[in-house]
């Protein structure tokens, strides 16, 4: 178990029991060329081109980068910068749906006959990135650097953010596909032992998972780990700490302690790409909060969030904020005409909270130090940021912060500690 963290009300019952619904194909999609960590994709279509579903429209640009595919068939009507859910503008390809549902030929493959590098190449060409939110290109993760060894694969099914239930639904409804994806990943990395980490509130998945694990196609030991409901259990570092009691060194990656961690949906996307020849053109997300009908939806990448909100009867009005992602780490966006991208885990309509307009002083209660899962001193960093002493923030290891939000959550003075920390990082990077 990891130290620190907070217990949260999970609000998952809002959408936990609603089956994944397929969201209708939108009339128009906006597909940004930068939805992932690393270099943005290069556009390979131009205005006026006709594209079909699954066709590459953005080409990989370097090793840490990703392909981008069209999620519908239709005409490219424009290529221009568009607002992303990250509140930044980036070049995006706008495609108008022709309703023909034309798609690339989906090649079925038997993954047992594939070599490791073939699997990784399919993953790369299918544009798969981490679907838990960070959107790190999966083929990069699967390519094990010289001198490193992977002992364990961990499937991250914690979904520790409140409200979100999409990964839970995927594990429930597509259990076999996730387990198949896990086997493919283990084959690609030549690993014989895997863990599936879920929080205790998803304990009903255990029989389903066990059932699926009975029919493994390769030699593989899979262990299900039930973890306590504590935020941020789903953080890669803390998941590994909880399961293996190994601590990723500061600035390191899971591979430094012999692990690779994959999100549930990423794992399923690998299966679909390798076995069914389907590139990453859709994902499953949760739309919840103050919407009238909270849902788990299968959505085409590039669908505008405004359409999804309408579908779930979410009314945008005063005293409400629109958040993309989970409530703890998600980003509030000022307008809903923003596309769903690969890393969009949730769309939440949340009440505006009663936070004092003027930043209140720190009363030095030390609660933020108690909850910080990275063992930092958020209160001290905050005080230095207020005095523009960013050098001091660096000494206080501000770059180790994972921005999980526990400190801001617990602060009795409601100080915007995450805000301070992000600002300090920004200032220090600019230097």
């Amino acid at each position: 178990m990891f130290k620190g963290g907070v217990k949260l009300l999970d609000f998952k019952s809002l959408s936990k029991n609603s089956e994944i619904e397929e969201f209708k194909e939108p009339d128009k999609v906006v597909i940004p060329l930068s939805q992932h960590t690393g270099a943005p994709a290069k556009p390979v279509v131009k205005k006026g081109d006709y594209v079909i579903e699954g066709q590459v429209i953005g080409e990989i640009n370097g090793f840490v980068s990703s392909y981008v595919h069209s999620s519908i068939s239709g005409k490219v009507v424009d290529i221009l910068p568009w607002n992303l859910p990250t509140n930044r503008k980036f070049l995006s390809i706008i495609i108008e749906n022709d309703g023909q549902k034309k798609s690339i030929e989906k090649i079925k493959r038997d993954w047992l006959k594939l070599e490791s590098n073939e699997i990784i190449n399919i993953v790369r060409e299918s544009g798969i990135v981490g679907l838990g939110g960070a959107a790190f290109p999966t083929h990069v993760k699967l390519t094990i650097p010289e001198g490193k060894k992977v002992e364990f694969i961990i499937i991250n099914g914690c979904e520790c953010e409140p409200f979100l239930t999409c990964d839970y639904r995927v594990l429930k409804q597509y259990t076999d596909e996730v387990i198949e994806g896990l086997q493919i990943i283990c084959k690609a990395t030549n690993v014989k032992k895997a863990f599936i980490g879920i929080e205790h509130n998803k304990i009903d998945l255990v029989p389903l998972l066990n059932n699926s694990i009975k029919n493994l196609k390769i030699y593989l030991e899979v262990e299900i780990k039930i973890l306590p409901e504590k935020y941020p259990q789903g953080s890669e570092k803390h998941l590994i700490k909880s399961i293996l009691n190994r601590e990723i060194p500061s600035g390191g990656l899971p591979i430094d302690v012999g692990c690779l961690v994959f999100n549930v949906q990423t794992t399923m996307a690998v299966k679909r790409a390798v076995c069914d020849g389907i590139p990453l053109t859709e994902r499953i997300l949760t739309c919840s909060g103050l919407v009238k009908s909270p849902k788990n939806l299968k959505v085409k990448i590039g669908t505008l969030i405004s359409e999804i909100l309408n579908f779930c009867e979410g009314e945008i009005k005063s005293k409400r904020k629109l958040v993309v992602g989970g409530p703890m780490m998600g980003i509030q966006i000022p307008y809903p005409d923003v596309p769903v991208i690969k890393g969009t885990t949730g769309i939440l309509l949340l009440p505006e909270e009663n936070i004092p307009e003027k930043v209140q002083p720190c009363i030095r209660c030390g609660k933020c130090l108690e909850v910080c899962p990275m063992f930092l001193a958020p209160s001290e960093i905050g005080r230095y940021v207020e005095k523009d002493r960013f050098d001091k923030c660096e000494n206080l290891n501000v770059f180790d912060c994972i921005e999980c939000g526990c400190c801001s959550y617990i602060c009795p003075s409601k100080r915007p500690l995450v805000d301070f920390i992000k600002y300090a990082k920004f200032k220090l990077r600019k230097k």
Binding site: E247, S250, K321, M328, M329, L348, L396, S408, Y409, K414
Partner: protein
């Protein structure tokens, strides 16, 4: 839609500074009632004057310096009650007013207000008054003598220190509070009720108070002092649970709290044993207050992933 953009997280705990202060006030109620019960209604006047003086001083300062008026956060009320608690039962009201003013205006607001003061306001004000008005500040009276000119009676620790030939109250009397002393310090029972409430509500952690008391207990044991009177006497319980745990003037780190608690215990005992005063809680906490920035600096936790 909300026209303001907030940084994550978009959920916050229901804990607020005001709520914490409210809990502290609640936790001090049993001992307040105890003080009135043991020393008469005059004590209520002292407490009210102290609260009013503190809140008014804060208001005055914030008006004069054109700052945001924040008297409603409850911190001045807490200081007011705590300051009254460390005064003798028949303290003149004008002295209470001066003390309340000093606690807030001088010790708290001049240092930057809530969150920035170095010293515990209530204890510093008491220390200043003790130096300036030693007679008024050491006139302790017999419990249950409700007259305004009640019979004076030395505190148990004074009797022990001066080796006076006076019957000490029994340990049970010490525990329930039937002994002479400051308004809020005598009833260990009622103070513990409040302390348990604060621990339960997670307003305070056990580290400082338990280690503080434990240190005094161990040192008493080692030097063959009467451990019961050392713990139940003076302001140890009040100081350990309600003064030394003051957020602003105690360390923020867990290890820092441990050091702070032990340090307070050692200095308290040292003053009682070899110092000129029979009681050392007030000065020990003030002394440790000065070390807090240093303690914080050297006890910051090692970041995640720094283990080799």
């Amino acid at each position: 839609m909300s026209n303001k953009i907030y940084c994550s997280p978009h959920l916050h705990s229901s804990e607020t500074t005001g709520k914490i202060m409210f809990y502290v006030v609640i936790s001090l109620l049993p001992a307040t009632i105890g003080g009135i019960y043991f020393f008469g209604l005059y004590v209520l006047k002292v407490i009210l004057v102290s609260i009013i003086s503190c809140v008014f001083s804060e208001f005055l300062f914030q008006i004069l310096l054109k700052k945001e008026i924040k008297i409603l956060d409850g911190s001045a009320v807490v200081t007011g009650i705590l300051f009254a608690f460390v005064l003798p039962p028949r303290i003149p009201l004008w002295l209470v007013m001066i003390g309340g003013f000093l606690a807030i205006f001088l010790v708290k607001e001049l240092f930057g207000g809530l969150g920035f003061n170095i010293f515990n306001p209530a204890l510093t004000a008491r220390a200043i008054l003790l130096a300036s008005y030693p007679v008024e500040m050491t006139k302790f009276t017999k419990p249950f003598d409700y007259n305004i000119d009640a019979i004076t009676s030395p505190t148990p620790l004074f009797i022990i220190k001066e080796k006076m030939n006076i019957q000490l109250p029994s340990l049970w009397q010490m525990f329930i509070g039937n002994r002479s002393g400051c308004i809020g310090e005598t009833s260990v029972l009622l103070l513990l009720l409040g302390a348990i409430f604060l621990l339960y509500k997670k307003v305070i952690t056990w580290h400082i108070p338990i280690l503080y008391i434990l240190t005094v207990a161990i040192l008493s044991l080692l030097t063959k002092e009467n451990i019961g009177y050392q713990i139940l006497g003076g302001g140890l319980i009040l100081g350990a649970f309600f003064m030394a745990t003051d957020y602003v003037t105690s360390p923020i780190t867990k290890n820092g709290k441990i050091i702070f608690g032990i340090g307070c215990g050692m200095i308290t005992f040292l003053i009682r044993k070899v110092g000129g005063y029979p009681e050392g809680v007030c000065y020990s906490i003030l002394f440790m207050n000065t070390l807090v920035p240093l303690i914080n600096k050297y006890t910051l936790p090692k970041k995640f992933g720094s283990k080799k």
